[in-house]
Symmetry: C2
Subunit: 122 residues, 2 copies
DNA sequence: CCGTATCCCCTGAGATACTG
DNA sequence: CAGTATCTCAGGGGATACGG
């Protein structure tokens, strides 16, 4: 691995920074959904994410917007219409999300076989 | 992006799973340090991570061990000697950590220039 | 040297109700 | 439709002290 010089403390660690942006119960799921389906309205998202509350959805969207990962577009009309989409900048996260998806899927299998081995060991 | 089928809820999302393993205040920093410097003793780690408490260090190490990311080797001797190292399996995380490091470093710059632009806008 | 055991605090997140 | 406003609770993480 190249040079991770003196990032020996969380406050200096760029990995921790990147992580911070993805962390949040619904953030990965929201990002994957927007990447896959493109622009979505607020209620469209809400319906696609069973179990999320309005508060949480607003909250997670705001935090992602704050980091310029997603864009919020408000149409001045009644009834209100608000659209959310991934920014160009936000798409730079896609390779990372993809890698984590693959790794996570594999890890699920890893843990499963581990449990099986432990079970047959007795 | 390929197929992220019905992972429309956090409990099914593999990205969330992968994230869960990296999340923890000192985990990224510990992993980077072990990847860079190889096997380390407990106190060696503690000294390298200014500000971490014994409790936290033990805690984070245990959680990583639980996922087979790191290995804990206890030598039966007094005074005690315990060594920690990344497992082969654990090194599969390195590309992800590297990608996050690069992305995070760039994001720091992104936010900085953003602030500068906002400042000169007035 | 390498840890546990406590106590305490703060924030992320759920439930619920209200509004332009 | 697309949000705020409260209230509440669990658990991640700090400080500190003790133990094999």
């Amino acid at each position: 691995m190249s040079d991770y010089n003196e990032e020996i403390v969380p406050e200096m660690c760029k990995v921790t920074d990147a992580l911070g942006i993805l962390v949040g119960k619904w953030k990965p799921v929201i990002l994957l959904h927007l990447l896959k389906n493109g622009t979505q309205r607020f209620n469209e998202l809400k319906r696609s994410l069973p179990g999320i509350t309005q508060k949480m959805l607003t909250n997670q969207l705001r935090e992602l917007e704050e980091e310029d990962i997603i864009e919020r577009k408000v149409y001045a009309q009644v009834p209100p219409k608000v659209e959310y989409s991934i920014t160009d900048y936000g798409t730079s996260l896609e390779p990372i999300l993809h890698a984590m998806h693959v790794w996570g899927a594999n890890h699920t299998i890893h843990k499963q076989t581990k449990r099986n081995n432990q079970a047959e060991a007795k």
